[in-house]
Symmetry: C2
Subunit: 472 residues, 2 copies
């Protein structure tokens, strides 16, 4: 398999683990550690199209103390480590570019506390978002952040994830109240109390949110939860153009209408969804809306948005009012990724993730569509349009150098365009391996130098998911 150009410099060094280290690990963890090829392979890849790079060993942690023990051993023997949840990241975050130990946190899957009066929950890092919502069902609360994949909450915190609900509820940045973290020295800290707000010193919580395992290992997460809305309704609406859909969104937000979801699918994505989910949606740009609130509030919101959409030349709303219809609609949206892959059987998606000020979004998407139309690769677009964030799923065979290069070329163009529009190279997926150069392009050398100083200050031995985010 041909590795993309940016991976050329990060081939695993292949230094074997020190025998004393392996022995200590075995003694502490017994059957909860493994060097089996199959297990290492499972932990040396993510959902990206990049070739796997295997860790030398995998430890299945059951507690914060377990994690602290692994990290202490790694520090003692200068062995790299990578925290692992369920492997849904897509920028090469989990690739063991220097070998070392993968710490699998998926067994740390207990909901530790539900504080209903405070609207907070505390979970172990391996709890997934669907599991949390299942456990919250009877309490009247829910956790809104929904990146599509059933990721772990530790992983979502580590990549600063968001998704379809962020336009109303914010991202992990806004919804993590505090973390338990194992530092690079194997110490256990809590980054914050359970107070809703605090001005007590540097914001350690926000430093670890989005740090992708490079500064410490997140083992517990305290989150804000929300009352389940009294009423929910959802609708699909077709537009004559991407501009019309984006302008509808802008007008909606400017009026302060608190839409809970507002998702854009371009015509190609609708076509893919129709084929995959056996739907008969008009193959035009489409917005999917969801409204949360009181019964009358939801009605009022929906009427207002429908009027705005009409003013922008949209067709009538197709309502999904029952839970079953809603589930069908959002399942189709969530499966859009898999639907798109079917447009080119055998392909993987090289997925872009730019986010721009919403005033530039239509322009950014239209120019991008011009690029992709001229390419030989199919590249459907779908986006969290209320946030200015969209994904191009560039479909290519990673084993075909011509296709992989073309995918990377398109990706670069999208990022460069977004940065010119005062946007970011990644709205929600993170930097990982793939976006380290884009990060410098976006922030400039001096700002990235501050990031590197944080990395060196927190992880002087450079053992925490080394080779990701910033070079040190």
């Amino acid at each position: 398999m041909n590795a993309p150009a940016f991976l050329a410099s990060v081939q695993p060094a292949g230094r074997p683990l020190p025998a004393a280290f392996l022995q200590a690990l075995q003694q502490r963890f017994g059957s909860r550690m493994s060097t089996a090829q199959a297990i290492r392979e499972h932990h040396g890849r993510d959902e990206s199209p990049y070739p796997p790079m295997l860790p030398d060993a995998v430890v299945f942690a059951a507690s914060t103390e377990d994690v602290a023990a692994v990290v202490s051993l790694c520090a003692q023997h200068r062995v790299p480590l990578i925290p692992y949840g369920v492997g849904t990241s897509i920028e090469g975050h989990l690739l063991a570019v220097q070998g070392g130990v993968s710490i699998d946190l998926s067994g740390m899957n207990k909901v530790l506390a539900v504080n209903a009066e405070d609207l907070t929950v505390t979970v172990q890092a391996g709890v997934t978002r669907k599991q949390l919502n299942e456990e919250l069902k009877s309490t009247g609360f829910f956790f809104p952040i929904d990146p599509g994949a059933d990721a772990t909450l530790g992983g979502m915190a580590a990549t600063r994830a968001s998704g379809t609900n962020a336009v109303r509820y914010g991202t992990m940045r806004e919804n993590v109240l505090g973390l338990t973290v194992v530092t690079a020295e194997g110490k256990v800290i809590r980054t914050a109390s359970r107070a809703r707000k605090s001005s007590a010193g540097y914001d350690l919580t926000r430093i670890f949110v989005g740090s992708e395992g490079t500064l410490g290992v997140i083992t517990e997460v305290t989150l804000r939860v929300y009352p389940q809305p009294e009423a929910i309704s959802a609708a699909a609406c077709s537009f004559p153009s991407v501009e019309a859909a984006v302008n509808t969104t802008i007008a909606t937000i400017q009026l302060g209408i608190p839409i809970a979801r507002c998702e854009l699918l371009d015509a190609l994505t609708v076509k893919a969804v129709n084929a995959h989910s056996k739907l008969g949606l008009p193959e035009q740009p489409m917005l999917l809306f969801e409204f949360h609130g009181s019964a009358s509030g939801v009605k009022e919101q929906a009427e207002a948005v429908q009027q705005i959409a009409r003013d922008h030349g949209a067709q009538d709303f197709q309502w999904a009012s029952t839970p079953e219809e809603r589930t069908r609609l959002w399942t189709a949206r969530h499966n859009a990724y898999f639907a798109c892959l079917q447009l080119k059987p055998g392909s993987r998606s090289f997925t872009t993730d730019v986010c721009v000020p919403i005033s530039r979004l239509a322009e950014c998407i239209v120019e991008t569509e011009r690029d992709t139309a001229a390419s030989f690769l199919p590249a459907p677009i779908l986006g969290h349009v209320g946030d200015g964030n969209f994904h191009v799923a560039i479909l290519a065979n990673p084993d075909d150098p011509r296709e992989a290069q073309e995918a990377e070329r398109l990706n670069q163009r999208v990022v460069t365009r977004a940065l010119k529009m005062d946007g970011t190279c990644t709205g929600e997926h993170g930097v990982g391996l793939h976006k380290m150069d884009f990060l410098i392009e976006e922030h400039g050398d001096d700002a990235v130098d501050l990031m590197a100083r944080i990395k060196r200050a927190f992880d002087p031995l450079n053992i925490m998911n080394p080779g990701k985010i910033v070079r040190v």
Copy 2:
């Protein structure tokens, strides 16, 4: 004047400014720099009851380049510097404990951009919140964060301020999109693009928000703004007890009712407000509410909250529906601080600022009232009860050692109690000088050690507002 015990170790060293430094400063800034006693005195104090400590010189900056020039000179000559807005902080943030230069940013008061479609504005650090809202009036947008004082937006970012609207709109943490910062080396960086969300590397924005001038000088701030609500209404409501008022708030939030403001005044504060603003409010615990939304949405919210309040034994709402009545009500609330000072003429307020999970708030306030009732100092309580944040305005003469000690003793008890309840020592005022030991008590040595590493990494010469937040 007797300095409180915690100030004993931070008496100014009094090293005079190097002559070459002064000369270079004079050459660059001419009449925009001063060493006059009156100007130094104005810049060596804040709203705290602590004795002033004067900077050796004051520079009036007009641009980011000015700030970069001062910082570069300070770095070259190892001279401490302190950013200064309008001096409304209250934890000793501005005291020049090691002398040096105060950089007055109040002249940097231009609104640089209003991006209506994106709901963002970019301002120079010296723009105050009232000025911004005045300039936004005709645009249909407003900036909600309201700490009472007409602080600068740079200062509000630097202390992670919040205030009465945070229960709905969040704090500066959530509402700063990006910053322009002059680093300790005099370099100019932007911490983020104008995208609403980003996963691009460590969250530099959130590191500088709340850093109190100790990591860099904030010179420009990009903020989220919000559509002016279609309808606003406000009401006051008296309760038989603090518990009843807090439980009403908890029930309101649990139902997902999006109250915009929810402020608690205890009986003593109501008494002070009555005397000061010539009102006839019942002298019992009271909540002040504000509702934002559509006309029908506001009506629905208000009816729901009124029912909850009734269920908790409250009296009827006293409505303030016209803008004039609303202004009267919130002016009374904002003047509560001055009203309280009149309870003990000649006193200053030693103001606590704890924030606890709301489930513990009633208990925390009731126990605190027991303390203050047993004290010889008057200590009215008012709070941003929807966030779990409240202030005790302990009224004492700072020149009377017995009173100052008693004020500090009460303060300590409030903080210790809040920390036991998984709260924070400061919800919105910051650490400054006063809370450096509380910070350690709250976070523990290992977490504060990480903060100290950030300080050393960003400011290796320790010239940026030295002696605040963390000891290095």
